[in-house]
Symmetry: D3
C-alpha cells in the first residue's frame, strides 16, 4: 500500500496507513450497487471517500483521538462483478472471513446495503451471539423484492434469518411498507422510528454481546446527505448521528460498515465529506472498542 | 390515464391511479412560472414530481395509510400559455371549478405561487366561508409588484380581496417588505413569523370552517429544499412541516396545493423527493378529511 | 394514454399520440441498466426523453415531415426488475413480440444496450433474413464479461449467435479489447472504425433485406452527448449521425432502438434534447420505411 | 461606472471602461426572459457575462485588436419588469433610441430573443434602409405563439412587419414549423438552413445598406453552447461562427445584439465563456465598422 | 458607482448604494483564495454575492430595518494578485486603513479566511483595545501550515500575535489538530466547541471594548452552506447564527468580515443566498452599532 | 503500490501496474494549482484521472497496443505545498530528476501548467539538445504576470529562458496578449495559431533531437473539454489531437506531461474521461518511443 517513494501522498483513506500485520482494524471497500432500484451509483463511494478524506483532519475533537493512532489498515477495494449479486456477495464474505479470522475488526465501506449481508455472515460465524445495530431510513425487511431475495430492500430480513428474533435493533426508520412495519412489530426486530432515541434501550439490551454496526447513511436527513440513492426527508442531523456513534463506546463492537453514499448525486461534495467524517469517528470507535475501552470477552 | 397494456409502469404520480369517476381527490399540475422575478423553473415541477415519485413508498408510517387507498385520480398537467398570466389563470380556474363541482377535492401541483389565486376563486365559489392556511417564507402581500397585480408576490393579497379580513393564516413567514408586515399587522391576516408555532391557534380559530391549504415549499429551510426560486435561509425543517400537515387532520380541508419547486436548481434531486413526500402526506390528509375523519358540513 | 380531459398536456413523447390500433409504429421504453459496469443511470432515459421532448418541434426540416403524421403510439415504459437481467429480458422479448405480431414497427428507448438482445430475438423470429446495423463507440462483442454472458458488453455477440456471420454492420466503433477487434476481423461482423463512412457499403450489402437499427448514442462524441455511461472521446458529431439516419431511407428498416442515454450525468440537458431529436428522426424514418418509401417485401 | 478608488476591479464587461461621452459603442444588458416556453433563465445572462469576462484576454488574435481600444461604454443592465412583456419592450426601445440618437452603436446583451424587436424598432427609426442579419437555430417566424404576438418565437416575424420583404437574412436555421419554413420560402426572408454558408450571398445582397446583427447563440451546436433555453442539436461550431463575424467587416453594421445565454443551465461555465468571446469579437467588429473600415454612408 | 442613466439596475450589493462620503459603512470584496489547501474558489464570492443579492429583500424582519437606510457604500472588489499572498495582504491592509481612517466601518467580503489578518491589522492600529469574535468550524490556530505562516489555517494565530491573550473568542469550532486545541486551552483564546452557546460569556467579557467580527461561513452546517472549501459536518443552523448576530447589538462592533463562500461548489445557489442574508444582517448590525445603539467610546 | 491481497482493484491509473524497477515509464501526479488566476481546481486532476481511468479500455485501437504492455509504473502523487510555488517546483524538479537519472521516461499529470517548468529543467539537464512541443490554447509567454515570474501564464517564457530560441513549437494557440504574439513572432518560438496544422513542420525541424511534449488540455475546444480553468472557445477536436499524438511516433520523445484538467468544473465527467484517454495514448506513444520505434540516440 505504501508508495515506493517518500514525499508522495498516501493512497489510503487519510490516517489509515498501518500495514496489515500491525493493524487491528481493516478498512476495505465493497463497491457494489447492482440491486438498487431507484438511483444507483454507490459503487463509486469508496473511491470518492478515499480521495476526499484529505479534506478532513485526522484528529477527532469529539473522541479526542487521531485516526493515525488507531492502527487501521486500508486494504483497498474488492473487485466485484456487476450483474451477478451472488458472486459479489461471495467475494465480500470471503474477504471479511479472512479479516475476522486474523483477529482484526472489519470496517467495510459500501456500496449498497446488500453488502452488509455477507459481512454479517462471516462475523456471525465467529461470534454466534452477534447482535446487529442498524441505522437507516428504510426498514429493509422485505422477504422478496422485485422477485429477488438478494436485494438491498431485503438485507435486514436476510440478516434476521441468520440471527433470529431479538438480535436486531433498527434506528431512525421512516420508510417501508405496511407489511414490513407489521412484521417487525411482531417481535422480530426492535424498530425505532424517525430518530435515534431508542439507542439507550438498545445498548442496555445488547449488553456485553458482540455487535455489528451497519450505518446506512441515508438515516441522515437529505439536507445533510443529499448524495444517496433514495433520499428520504425527515431524517436525523449529523450531530445526532455523531452523538449516537460516540455513545456506542461501552459496547463490544466487533465489526462495522458505512453504506449508501452515491457521490455523483451530490456535486457539492458535502455528502462525501460527511461520509468521511462518519468513517473517521467509526474507525476511532472501533479502535476504542478493540482496545478494551469497551471490549468485553466475545 | 391507464396504459393500454399490462406490465407497464403507470404514468401518474405513484399510487394515484384511481379513475376520475371513482376518485374523491383529483391531483393535477399547473406548470406556470411566468411572473417569477428571481429564478424561474417551477414550470417543470409537476413533471419532475411525477417521475421521481417512484423513489417513494406509497405507505406513510406517519399517517399509517397507503396512497393507493386514497382514491386519488391524477388528471395530468394543464396546458398553460407563457407570457399571458391572465389566460393561464383562467384555465386553472376552469379546471378547479369542474373538480369542485363534481364533488371532488382538488390537489394542485404548481408552478409558481400565483396559481393559487384562481384555484381559491373556484373553491371559494362553492365554500363562501372558506379560510386559507398559508405556509411560506414570503408574505406575498404586495398590492402591486413591478407594476403588476397578478404576480406571485401579490397572490395572498389577491386572495384577501376575495375572502376579506380574518380568513387567512400565514405561517413560517420570514421575508417581505416593511409595508407588507405592517399591512398584515393591521388585522388583515394572521401572520406568524419564522416557524409553524402559530398552527394551534390557527386551527382553533378556523374551527369547522372549510379550509384551503396552500403550501409554498420554500417555507422549508433551503438546506432541506434548495430547489426553489427564491431560497430564504432560516426556514423550518421537514419534520416540523410534516408534524404540521398531520396536525391539520381535525380541520375541514377542502382543497390544497403544493407550489414553488424549481427542480432544475437542485441536481441532487432531494428537493423533488421532498416535494413528493409532502404531496403524499397531503394526499393522505385530504383523504382522511374527505372521509369524515375531519370533514364537517360545508 | 389519452388524458380524461381536454386542455391537458399529453403524457406521451411529443407527437406520438396515435392510439395503438391506428398506429403503425409503437414506441416504448425499456428502463433497465442492471449490467452496466461503469456509470449506471440509463434506467431514467425513457422518462427523461418523454418530458424533454416538449422542447422540440415535431416537424423535421431534414425529412420534411411531422412526427404527428407518423402514426406512432407511445405505449409507455415496461416495468422491469433490477438485479435479474434474465427476467427483464424476457419481458422485453414478450412485448416486442406482440408489437411485431400485430404488424407494427417497434421503436424501443433504452436503457442500457443489453435490451437490444431480446428485441432482436423477437424481430428475428418474424424476419429470418434480419440484418443488424449497429451505431456505437464500443464493439460489445465480448463472449463473457465479468463472468456474465448477458451483459451490455456482450450484446452484439449474443445477437451474432442468433444471426450468424455477415449479418451485422458496426459503425463508429472506437473502443474494445484487442480480442474483440480480431474476432470481428475474422469476418463475423463488418466493423467500421471511428466514423460512419462505412454506411454506404453497408447499405449496398444489406440491400432489400429487413434491418434492425440499434443506435447506441455514445457513438456521438462526448461533447455532443455527455450524458452516457461510458463517454468515449473521438466520436461523431450530431450532423454526421443525422445524415446517416436519413441515408437509411432506402433500406427496409423493420425495427429500431435508441439506447444508453444516462440523463442524470448531464445536468445541462443537452444529451436528453439530442436523444429526443434522434428519436424524432428515427420515428420519421420508420414511418417512411413502413409507408413503402423504403419498404420492400420481407 | 468607474469605481471611487484606484486598485479596484472594474464592474464592467472586461475592456469596456470608456465613459459614455467618449464612447462610440454602448454595451448594455436587457435581462428579460418572460415569454420563454421551454427553459427560462436568460435573464441572468448579462450579469454572468460581465463576471466571467475576466477569464478572457481583451486582445483578439483573430482581429488583432484590443477591446480596450474600441471605445466601448458598458452602461449596465436595464431594470425590466417580468410578467409584462409590453412594458419591458418599451424600456428597451427607449434606451436604444437614446444610444442611437447620440450617434453611438448599440451592443445589447439579452435576455431572450424578443428583446431584439424593440431595439430594431429604434435603430430602424434612424436607418429606414435597415437590413437584419439573423443567426439562429430557430426560424422565430410564427405570427402568433400560444396566443401571443409578442413572443420569442415570433420576433423575426415582428421585425419583418417593420422592414418588409427582402430585408432579413437568416442563417443556421434548423428548427421551426412547416408553416414557418413555407412562409419564409415565399420570399419574405432569405432563410439558409443548417450552416452559415449563405453569408457571402447575404453580404453581397446587403451591400452598403445599414445592417443590424442579431446573434442568437443557440445557432451554435449544444456541444459548444449547452447553456441555452432550447438546445437544438446539429448547429455550427464556434470557429464557424467566428469566421462569420469577422467576415462581416465590410458591412455597414450599425447595431448588434447577442441573446439567449441561459447561464444556470451550464454549471461548467463554458457557455458563458463562449458568449463573452462572441461579445468581444462583436465589439471589435462594431468598432471597425464605426471607424469606417466598413462604414459607408447610411 | 452609480450608473450614468436612470432605469438601470444597480451594480452594488442590493441596498448598498450610498456614496462614499455620505456612508458610515464601507462594504468591499477581497477576492483572494491563494493559500487554500482543499477546495479553492472563494475568489468568486464577492461577485456572486453582489449578483444574487437581488433575490433578497432589503428589509430585515429580524432587525426591523432596511439595508437602504444603513448608509452603506459598496466600494467594489480589490484587485489582488494570485501566487503572492504577502502582496495581496498588503493591498487589503491599505484599503482597510483608509476606510478606518475616514471614520467608517469596514465590512469585508472574502475570499478565504487569510484576508482577515490584514484587515484586523488596520483596525487594530486605530483601536488598540480591539477584541476579535471568531465564528468558524476550524481553529485556524496553526503556527505554520505546509511550511507557510501566511495561510488560511494560521490566520487566528497571526491575529493572536497582534492582540495577545484574552482578546479572541472562538465559537462553533469543530475541527483542528490536537495541538491547536491544546494551545487554545492554555488561555491564548477562549475556544467554544460545536455551537454558539459561548456567545453570552464572550459578550460579557468583551464588554465595551471595540470588537472585530470575523464570520467564516463554514461555521454553518454543510447542509445549510455546502458552497465552501472545507465543509465540516456538525455545524450550526442559520437560525442559530442569525440569533447570534442579532445578539451582538449591545457590543461595540467596529469592523466585520464574511468569508469562505466558494460559490461554484453549490450550483443550487443556496450558499450564496445564505451568505447574502448574513451580509444583510451584518450590515444592519454594523449600522445599529455605528449609530450608538451599541456604540460606546473607542 | 500493489495491494496486499489478490482480488482487489488496483490503485494505479488503469494498466500502469508495473513495479518501478521493471518500468521504463514513470507516471506521477503533480497536484498543484497555486498560481491560477481564473478558475482553480487542477490540483484534483491526478486523483480524478486515476479513479475514472477504470471506465476506459486499456487497449488502443488507434495504436494497436495495450497500456499493460507498456511497462508503466504509477508512482502516485507528489505532496506539494500550496501558497509557496517555489517550494512546490523544487519537489517536482527533484522527483523528475530521479526518474530521468534512473533512465526512465517521466509522464507527469498536472496540476496547472506551471508544473511543466521544473520537469523541463530536470529533463533538460540530461538532454541539452532538448526541444519542447507545446499544445495549448494560450501562449503562456508573459515575462511577468500579476507581478510574478513563476506563474502558469509565464511557464513557456521560463522554459524559453532555459532552452533559448528555436527550441519551442507551440500549437493550437488562440489566446494571449498582443505583446506575447509579437514576442513569439520575433523568432523566439514557432507559434502556430488555432489548429495543429503546424505539426509536420515542427516534426521536420525537431528531427532526431530529444523532445518534451507538454499537453495543456485546454488546447481542446471547450465542447470536448469543459473541465478546465480557462475555457477558450475555438479549439481543436479530440480526433485532431489524437492524430497529432500518434503522428509524434517518429520523434524522440523523452518526457511528457498532461496538464490543466480541473475536474470539479465538469460534473458530467467527460473532461476526466477525455484526459484519461489522452494519457493512455501518450503512455503508449512514450512506450513506442522508448522502444526505439522512434528512439534515436540522445
Amino acid at each position: 500500500m505504501a508508495n515506493d517513494f517518500d514525499g508522495m501522498l498516501p493512497r489510503t483513506f487519510i490516517g489509515c496507513e498501518a500495514g496489515y500485520e500491525e493493524s487491528s482494524i481493516v478498512l476495505f471497500g465493497a463497491p457494489f450497487d447492482g440491486t438498487v432500484t431507484f438511483r444507483p451509483g454507490s459503487r463509486f463511494a469508496p473511491s470518492a471517500m478515499r480521495a476526499d478524506s484529505f479534506g478532513l483532519e485526522t484528529y477527532s475533537p469529539y473522541q479526542e483521538l487521531c485516526l493515525e493512532n488507531c492502527a487501521i489498515h486500508d486494504a483497498g477495494d474488492l473487485d466485484l462483478p456487476f450483474g451477478n449479486p451472488a458472486k459479489a456477495l461471495e467475494i465480500i464474505r470471503g474477504f471479511t472471513q479472512r479479516v475476522v479470522r486474523d483477529g482484526k475488526t472489519p470496517l467495510m465501506l459500501g456500496g449498497e446495503h446488500l453488502v452488509t449481508y455477507p459481512a454479517v455472515q462471516s462475523v456471525f460465524a465467529k461470534y454466534p451471539e452477534l447482535c446487529v445495530l442498524h441505522f437507516d431510513a428504510h426498514t429493509d425487511l422485505r422477504d422478496i423484492y422485485c422477485g429477488e431475495r438478494l436485494s438491498h430492500a431485503c438485507v435486514l430480513r436476510r440478516v434476521w434469518e441468520l440471527l433470529g428474533d431479538g438480535r436486531i435493533w433498527q434506528l431512525g426508520i421512516r420508510s417501508g411498507t405496511r407489511e414490513e412495519f407489521s412484521w417487525a412489530a411482531q417481535g422480530h426486530t426492535a424498530l425505532y422510528q424517525y430518530d435515534l432515541s431508542g439507542l439507550d434501550a438498545a445498548a442496555t439490551q445488547i449488553g456485553t454481546r458482540p455487535v455489528y454496526i451497519t450505518l446506512d447513511l441515508d438515516v441522515l436527513d437529505p439536507s445533510a446527505f443529499p448524495g444517496t440513492g433514495t433520499p428520504e426527508a425527515g431524517g436525523v442531523g449529523f450531530k445526532e448521528l455523531l452523538r449516537a456513534i460516540i455513545a456506542l463506546r461501552p459496547l463490544n463492537v466487533v465489526a462495522a460498515d458505512v453504506v449508501e453514499l452515491s457521490p455523483h448525486y451530490d456535486a457539492s461534495g458535502i455528502s462525501t465529506a460527511t461520509a468521511c467524517k462518519a468513517v473517521r469517528e467509526m474507525g476511532i470507535l472501533l479502535h476504542r472498542c478493540s482496545q478494551g475501552a469497551g471490549r468485553r470477552p466475545a
